[in-house]
């Protein structure tokens, strides 16, 4: 009886995917216990909620997700408009929508709604994909991204943009266009510079010379690179990082948790972490290749690459090769909303895998 229930519970769950994610969540617990022991209980609660969400989503067939995609997208855009009009301002940015009983961050929803919507669109036009379709897809992509940039929230807008771009790329956007747009973007960069918020510019400038303002804007980057570098090959030992424990690392349980981990567990620990991410992404791409239809392929591919983007941008910024944009370390950083979104993505991957093509054509 219990065995049957268990079977039923784990039926939609993909073993390898669950294994890699589980190990990453374990890494998170180890890092969190050192960085912010006071938050362990809340973090555990987040994990439980996120796993539940994953399990529920894993059961939803991709066709159902596809039929929901446009509604989800439109809903998300409406929420973003609502944020622009009535959102709560905190630390100078308007990101949250207060519904009275709960505060939500609609841009988070877009990370999932965006790939679903674009994949839905390409699936609809699968028979004949023309340049026009890519143009339409680009418009679908840019509307929410523009709304999120305006909040302003550079980190999230990069992730949402990346999520959409991956779909378009995987759907076969011609290389000529990609290279052309890349060149145009490079040419437009000076203009974009003038459009950035002052603090965003500061962050990019800081990357070039953090020592200029050691107490202010440069503080984050300087202290986190010191933490990583002083960790060495073997690390200073769990709970022994002077940078972490003496509070030199800012936001050490959220965006900068990698610095704590790297200081205490060293290059070996980092290698383990990067390999885990690589395995997770490998498995995701494998699921994408085996998926049943274009929609499923595109969604699986894009979600997997989003995991990559999170990891790359976060480790990149904490180790000082990318500007600080407020992207958490996936599956590890403290924060319920981000974790739930990520695990929802894992759930979708599992569902796609469950409903894959059983016979290769």
């Amino acid at each position: 009886m219990i065995r049957e229930l268990w079977q039923k519970l784990v039926a939609p769950i993909d073993g390898p995917l669950m294994g890699f994610t589980g190990l990453l969540l374990l890494v998170a617990l180890i890092a969190m216990a050192s960085a912010a022991p006071g938050r362990m209980m809340t973090h555990l609660a987040h994990i439980v909620v996120a796993l539940t969400v994953m399990r529920v989503v894993a059961q939803i067939p991709p066709q159902r997700l596809m039929s929901l995609a446009p509604a989800l997208y439109v809903f998300g855009v409406l929420l973003l408009v609502a944020v622009a009009l009535f959102g709560d301002v905190s630390k100078g940015a308007r990101r949250w929508l207060n519904l009275g009983f709960i505060r939500i961050q609609p841009s988070e929803l877009m990370k999932i709604a965006m790939p679903l919507m674009l994949a839905w669109y390409f699936q609809k036009h699968e028979a004949m994909l023309r340049l026009k379709d890519y143009a339409v897809a680009t418009v679908i992509l840019l509307i929410p991204v523009a709304l999120i940039i305006r909040q302003p929230d550079l980190g999230t807008s990069i992730l949402v943009f990346a999520a959409g771009f991956f779909v378009i790329f995987l759907a076969g956007l011609p290389w000529k266009v990609i290279i052309g747009l890349g060149a145009a973007a490079a040419a437009a960069a000076p203009f974009a510079w003038t459009m950035l918020h002052d603090y965003q510019r500061q962050r990019i400038l800081m990357l070039l010379d953090p020592e200029k303002d050691p107490l202010g804007k440069g503080f984050h980057i300087i202290q986190s690179t010191i933490a990583i570098g002083s960790g060495g090959i073997l690390g200073k030992g769990w709970g022994q990082g002077t940078q972490a424990q003496l509070e030199f690392i800012p936001e050490r349980h959220t965006d900068f948790i990698f610095a704590v981990y790297a200081e205490e567990l060293g290059l070996i620990g980092n290698l383990v972490l990067l390999v885990l991410y690589a395995l997770l992404i490998g498995r995701g791409l494998q699921i994408a290749v085996k998926a049943a239809n274009l929609f499923a392929r595109l969604v699986a591919g894009a979600i997997t690459l989003i995991f990559f983007t999170y990891a790359f941008v976060n480790v990149g910024m904490v180790s000082g090769i990318l500007p600080v944009v407020g992207v958490p370390l996936p599956f590890v950083s403290y924060g319920g909303t981000a974790l739930v979104t990520l695990m929802l993505g894992v759930g979708i991957l599992m569902s796609i895998h469950k409903n894959r093509m059983l016979v290769q054509k």
């Binding site: 630390k91 100078g92 002083s230 790297a262 290059l267 290749v289 990149g316 090769i321």
Partner: protein, 629 residues
């Protein structure tokens, strides 16, 4: 791009996935390379730097800017004093340590209580003062015994001081220790770095509004510390930049005369230069001593200030909303002229009452004022005239005009937390009340509003702005206290330009009618007594605002309890032909406007226009009794 078959499509997808996989892999290799660079190749360098973090960057708090009046008289400054400070995280047993210190330094129970409170509000590794303003002898005694006290040190710190005590305290406001809420403001300004090492933050008044101007730029010092965390050697130093000084439009002498004129009465006064909006005096009585807050206010003082029925912490000039009473009438009359609802010479007959439906609205003068035109209606403050007028105009016309001169909305003065007051209208009532049956506006309510009673409630600064706007022929300015901000390094002065908010476009002929009547008030009306023998021509309007509805019973001044007595109001400007000062005065429970508020305005004008100082106490006002409102 077209695909002949799904197979081709699939192959293309697989190629794209392969490209993506390759990019992922190379990015991870790049990251790993960076980590190897940091953790293997540069490891020694970063190892040293992590060690060097024991070399700490000590912020040097800048000197806070001064607040001075228009002549340079200082209202807020700083002094340096030695404080005895404890870093709780470095002290094994706090009680024993404090007892030990108390053997040779005077530490009172209240100092201990304050220290406990500070500990709750701050992190344990912050250095917190147990005693401030140590004497030289106490400093010497501690230095001699320093070795016995780990985690205890003497620091030279700057403290804020308000040399004139309670004087003008509602203008300067006060500083207090940084709290959670202040941190939010600091973060919103992205000024966290600049506030490392700053313990104090403006909590009210100019100190609050101009916090980021007054603060200055924090310097820092790289110091090597020993194992106990004490500085051993300074390695590098960036000097702090002192905060900017504020020069006010305020005239300290005028402020002083105004505050003294109130005696121990409660109330507010706002004097404005009509052509600039510069505030010459801003009084709210009673006031409080801002020095009490500087070291962290003790519980007893705070309780006394907070629980006093006199409410000294409330800035009545900005936060007290009072019915304007008859001071509303000149604005009503101007509205009537502008809207074409009355001509100046158009007269009514006042029998002493106005019947509306089944209700009778009474005039204060029994038997009425007889034939009343606009001039007489203002000079003698005839209620019946305005009952008719309000009824003819309707509430929404009234609200639109009064709104245009700033009544019922914040003036934008450079002190935070200003109240809006209440500008009644149909829309306002709908919003104000929840129950549908209460939301409907009744025509009878318009009639009380017409004489400045009913739902009307405005702050003294709004009334001052409104009368200044009339004085300035309809050009309205934002009231402001700061004249210019001085960069203490370069001496460069940034003036706060007078901001004309809007020109209301009134007909000059209409303004002149009102101005003539306001002059009449002080020559042959309710303000005559207060302005008898003044060496200049002034214009004004008295008002009495009802605190308590007597429901038809006759008002007996002597018989009413003090807190139920009417508020006394007066708005005025002078000289009448070329206004240099406009003022709104409110005396809480002062009775008639002509008796309490107008004489205060007289003293203020006498000084400002003639340089005349008031003789002795405020003039006895019993004789003004016959003047009616």
């Amino acid at each position: 791009m077209e695909f002949k078959n799904p197979q081709e499509h699939l192959e293309q997808f697989n190629r794209r996935v392969a490209v993506a996989g390759a990019i992922v892999l190379s990015c991870f290799v790049l990251l790993f390379g960076r980590l190897v660079w940091l953790q293997v190749i540069q490891h020694d360098y970063y190892q040293t730097r992590a060690e060097d973090n024991r070399i700490s960057l000590v912020p040097i708090t800048p000197i806070r800017g001064l607040i001075v009046d228009r002549q340079g008289e200082v209202l807020a400054r700083n002094y340096s004093a030695y404080t005895l400070e404890i870093t709780p995280s470095q002290v094994p047993d706090l009680e024993t340590t404090i007892d030990g210190l108390a053997e040779f330094i005077d530490i009172q129970p209240k100092d201990r209580r304050r220290f406990k409170k500070l500990m709750e509000e701050n992190k344990r590794f912050e250095s917190l003062p147990i005693r401030t303003r140590l004497s030289d002898a106490e400093v010497a005694k501690f230095i001699a015994r320093r070795f016995r006290f780990t985690g205890v040190d003497i620091k030279a710190r700057l403290f804020r001081e308000y040399p004139r005590g309670a004087f003008a305290s509602h203008v300067t406001g006060y500083l207090g220790r940084v709290t959670e809420r202040d941190l939010g403001r600091i973060e919103a300004q992205e000024a966290e770095a600049n506030y490392r090492g700053t313990d104090h933050f403006g909590k009210s008044g100019l100190e609050q509004h101009y916090e980021f101007e007054l603060h200055g730029i924090t310097g820092f010092e790289k110091v090597e510390v020993d194992a106990a965390g004490r500085p051993v050697r300074t390695m590098a130093r960036t000097a702090p930049v002192p905060g900017n000084n504020l020069t006010l439009t305020l005239d300290v002498k005028l402020q002083e005369i105004a505050e003294e004129a109130f005696g121990d009465r409660r109330g507010a006064l706002v004097a404005i230069e009509p052509t600039t909006g510069g505030i010459l005096a801003l009084v709210s009585m009673p006031n409080y001593d801002p020095n009490l807050f500087v070291d962290g206010i003790n519980v007893a003082d705070w309780g006394e200030l907070n629980n006093s029925p006199e409410k000294p912490m409330v800035n009545r000039a900005l936060n007290g909303a009072y019915p304007p009473g008859s001071t509303f009438k000149p604005f009503m009359a101007l509205a009537a002229l502008e809207l074409g609802k009355r001509r100046p010479e158009q007269a009514i007959f006042d029998p002493g009452y106005f019947n509306f439906g089944s209700h009778t609205f009474r005039d204060d003068k029994k038997g009425g004022h007889g034939t009343v035109d606009m001039y007489k209606s203002i000079v003698q403050s005839c209620n019946t005239y305005y009952y008719h007028l309000a009824n003819d105009m309707g509430i929404d016309n009234i609200a639109a005009f009064m709104g245009s001169i700033g009544l019922g909305s914040r003036t934008g003065v450079d002190i935070e937390g200003e109240s809006e007051g209440v500008l009644p209208s149909q829309a306002w009532k709908k919003k104000r009340f929840k129950k549908v049956e209460q939301q409907k506006w009744f025509a009878g309510e318009t009639i009380s509003v017409g004489i400045g009673q009913g739902y009307n409630a405005y702050t003294p600064i709004q009334l001052a702005q409104a009368i200044a706007t009339v004085a300035n022929d309809g050009v309205m300015f934002r009231p402001h206290l700061v004249k210019h901000i001085t960069d203490t390094r370069t001496g460069k002065q940034t003036p706060i330009e007078p901001q004309p908010l809007k020109a209301l476009g009134w007909k000059q002929a209409n303004i002149d009618v009102i101005k003539r009547a306001l002059v009449g008030v002080n020559i042959e009306g309710t303000g005559t007594r207060a302005f008898a023998g003044a060496g200049y021509v002034s214009a004004g309007k008295t008002g009495t605002s009802q605190v308590y509805s007597l429901k038809g019973a006759e008002y007996k001044r002597q018989g009413t309890k003090e807190e139920l007595r009417d508020h006394s109001l007066y708005i005025a400007y002078a000289p009448a032909d070329k206004p240099a000062i406009a003022v709104a005065v409110l005396v809480e429970n002062g009775g008639f406007g002509s008796q309490a508020a107008a004489p205060i305005a007289r003293q203020v004008f006498d000084y400002y226009l003639l340089g005349k100082l008031p003789k002795g106490a405020a003039p006895a006002d019993e004789a003004a009794k016959e003047a009616d409102e």
